[in-house]
Amino acid sequence: MGTEIIIPAIDPMPLPAPFWLFKVLLVLTFILHIVVMNFMFGGGLIAVWTRFFGQKNDKDQRLFKDIVPKIPSLLAATVTLGIAPLLFVQVLYGQFLYTSSIIMAWPWFLVLVLLVLAYYGFYIVSFNKDKKSRSIGWLMLISVFFIFLVGFFYSNNFTLMNTPSSWAAKYFHDPSGWNLNLSETTLIPRFLHFLVASIAIGSFLLIIIGLFRWKREQDYARFLIVRGGKWFMYATMVQFLVGIWFLISLPRELMLQFMGGNMLGTVSLLISILGGLASIFVMSNGIRNEDPRKPAIWAMGITGIVVVFMAIMRDILRTAYLSPYFKSSDLVVKTQLDVLILFLVLFVIGIAVWVLMIKKYFFTPSARAAD
């Protein structure tokens, strides 16, 4: 026992919209989630690093002070934007995700506890007026570490979900949910791939703050953009090594998907490599300029495109992993057209209201002083 492959039956209820629509929504909302998560986690990591290893000058101190108040809202956005892809992945791949979650139930449940603790930690740091106290740095470090663990548990679950052949042995060995997926060879490179990407994209938080500050205090703004740019370049360079490690750790037939086996996968990998190189090049030249704003924006734009292709590759990889056990043609589709239209209409209205809120908040001249 424990060597067989058990795949739960597909839910008998039909899919309430075509497969492709859920797929598009899944990948799209995942991109939004991952970018904001990178800002939150990567930004937090850079803040902690600066706190402990930065110079004792004013700018480094300010950098910490400027980043930490943004983290709680970014965490709120990460969680909120994470709900949608988690919903769509359950619709399409529930039989895989529920099973892997149950096998590692306690770590998966702990995600919630860690999130609440990290969240309150971030808020305490953010509301603390005197950010110089020693305990604030440690609290920030612990909170970021909790997020690190959350990410690690996510990597465990989403690799376990893809490998049903390892389920039975793990579950029957310990049905009480104290499992992880540590025996999976792709786990560490995959997790590092996400971690390093968080630092690279988290650096954009510094750059964006710098861009907004440019008119008011150019010197400090330039410092932020240059510092962000350096974090970005070094992280992306490391990413090339980690990415190669991740790629060669994949089972051979899956790795070959990105080397001619799958056209979209191969093109995506090529674009990502070229995009990564181009963004490093643009950034490294840009931060030497007196005004590094334009090149920094370019580098961020190129990286944005790379993220989209990375998300597509992630999906191709999952499809390849699950291909022996899952065919989208097995799903019965019965579109709930009226509710779907209602969703789309409300989605558009929701975006409009959201944009209006942001606009009114950030771009209405402050009247409180005169109030």
């Binding site: 449940f109 919630l112 509710v339 779907l340 989605f347 929701g350 809120m357 942001i358 409180r368």
Partner: protein, 517 residues
């Protein structure tokens, strides 16, 4: 069945209860509290009360820290937790209502954004824009409940959905509107309950008195209206289901009683604060908070309890087995499992057949697969303490397993499995507690009437003075009791016919009159 069962030693049901009840107590505050913030802000402007406004700013911070952090994460937490404990039920709710969840997500996103901007906007925005954000917050938060309420109510009263599987018929089900209004009213009450917490901490006594009076205005009317909506809600639950909370199911009845006590006390103590609003101690506000928590918790417990044995009423049992057979059910219907056996049908059974060597392991596995979504051995709804108390023999346990569905207003699903599997489960359960020595040998000649009573009657009756049905048997002799047992189903609609052998009937008939001597 279809999924592995997460073995939570202290009780999977308890884990869900903890996450769910703490969440609803915060999420309802998140809704009512939204309107409270806006109306209190307007009141402060109208009365030009700077100190009230100052308190409200601090209260907003408290509100955001409670709702946006704990409320949001615990909400996702319920989803995580039910996915781990009731994966098939969760999958069904996701498939039937994915667009409902997606719509709810839009409102949730607006709600969270508006809450944060409202908090940070206190010192940045003009009054009009700030209030506008407050309104957006409240409307978005309320609409998210409008959506979730449909799916929650659906689980208890799916109505016509069972025949049509139509989204709207399931969504606007029989308890939709009463449930929505009940929750709305409670949400407003909670706005006052939470405001008392921060309000009674104020040192300025004028301000404190004002906040207390204003907060209680949110609690008192709500608690006057709640019984009306509750009555409407109950009226839309099928009578047979509601009877569980009217004495037929001990736990549900207990929750129904506790909701009356908790809500009455919340109401009374809230009234009490009006005697000397300026002098209300913080401890009293905490007491009201806990009583309101008891009220909300009892309501959620009743809803969960009377829905038993189902997770989705008349569709799927709490242990993920479908009530009826239908194409695509993966063989997970009760009929199919009773015919083919639980172990061969369940995907995550390690023992596929029962042998003399693996009997205990198979019994334990049957317990895990079939019983553990609600029960444990030693934890929540633990089975060992029942067995220790009752000292049933294997035969008695086996009998009870075969008539689970008759227990306490049909609170349990029928046993799903073959006779052999039932015996295996009974054999396993026998090892958990000592068996009464006189019950070990049960033969046709020497059957214990008590054992027969325990196996056939004790689900609903007790041989005690409190059981009027049993006491009424005192006036009959052996032959009359024996005759009555043959026609139990004609005594009342709810009595099932006696299923034991003639010898067992006679043993029971001999035993009952003896109890009155």
């Amino acid at each position: 069945m279809n999924y592995p069962v997460w073995d939570v030693a202290f009780g999977a049901g308890l884990l869900i209860a903890i996450v769910a009840i703490t969440h609803v107590f915060v999420s309802h505050f998140a809704i009512g509290g939204g309107l409270f913030l806006v109306l209190t802000e307007k009141k402060a402007y109208r009365e030009d009360d700077a100190s009230l406004l100052d308190w409200l700013k601090r209260h907003t911070k408290f509100f955001v820290l409670v709702t946006v952090v704990f409320g949001a994460i615990s909400g996702v937490g319920i989803w995580f937790t039910i996915g781990l404990i009731h994966p098939s039920g969760t999958s069904a709710l996701i498939h039937a209502y994915v667009w409902g969840w997606a719509i709810e997500w839009i409102f949730f996103f607006l709600e969270i954004t508006a809450a944060l901007l409202y908090l940070y906007g206190w010192n940045k925005l003009d009054r009009k824009t700030h209030l506008w954000l407050g309104w957006i917050y409240f409307i978005a938060a309320y609409l998210s409940m409008v959506v979730i309420n449909g799916i929650l109510a659906f689980m208890l009263t799916p109505g016509k959905w069972l025949e049509t599987q139509n989204f709207w018929q399931g969504f606007f089900n029989p308890t939709y509107f009463p449930s929505l209004l009940l929750r709305t009213t409670f949400a407003f009450a909670l706005a006052g309950v939470y405001a008392l917490i921060t309000g009674t901490l104020q040192k300025d006594l004028e301000l404190k008195g004002k906040i207390v009076k204003w907060s209680v205005k949110w609690i008192i009317p709500a608690f006057i209206i709640i019984p009306i909506f509750a009555w409407w809600y109950i009226g839309n639950i099928p009578d047979v289901v509601w009877e569980s909370a009217r004495g037929k199911m001990p736990t549900a009845t207990q929750y129904a009683n506790s909701i009356l006590i908790f809500s009455a006390l919340t109401f009374l103590f809230s009234l009490l604060t009006l005697i000397k609003p300026k002098k209300v101690p913080f401890a009293l506000s905490v007491l009201i908070f806990l009583l309101a928590f008891g009220t909300m918790g009892s309501f959620e417990f009743i809803r969960e309890a009377i829905r038993k044995p189902y997770i989705i009423y008349d569709y799927m049992y709490a242990n993920s087995i479908y009530k009826d057979q239908f194409p695509g059910d993966g063989g997970m219907s009760i009929q199919n499992i009773q015919q083919k056996g639980l172990l061969p049908v369940a995907k995550w059974a390690e023992s596929k057949e029962i042998t003399s060597e693996n009997q205990m392991a198979a019994g334990m596995e049957i317990f895990r697969i079939q019983c553990q979504s609600c029960h444990t051995i030693d934890g929540y709804r633990g089975i060992r303490k029942v067995l220790v108390e009752k000292k049933w023999s294997q035969t008695a346990i086996s009998r009870r397993i075969s008539s689970l569905e008759n227990m306490f207003n049909a609170v349990m699903p029928p046993f799903a499995g073959t006779d052999e599997e039932r015996e295996t489960l009974a054999a396993y359960l026998t090892t958990l507690a000592p068996v009464a020595p006189e019950d070990v040998e049960v033969t046709d000649i020497d059957i214990s009437g008590e054992v027969v009573f325990e196996a056939n009657c004790a689900d609903c009756h007790e041989y005690a003075a409190s059981d009027t049905m049993f006491v009424s048997m005192g006036k009959y002799d052996f032959s009359e009791v024996s005759y009555l047992i043959t026609r139990l189903d004609s005594l009342s609609e709810e009595m099932p016919p006696f299923e034991g052998s003639d010898a067992e009937r006679e043993a029971l008939a001999r035993w009952i009159p003896v109890q009155f001597k």
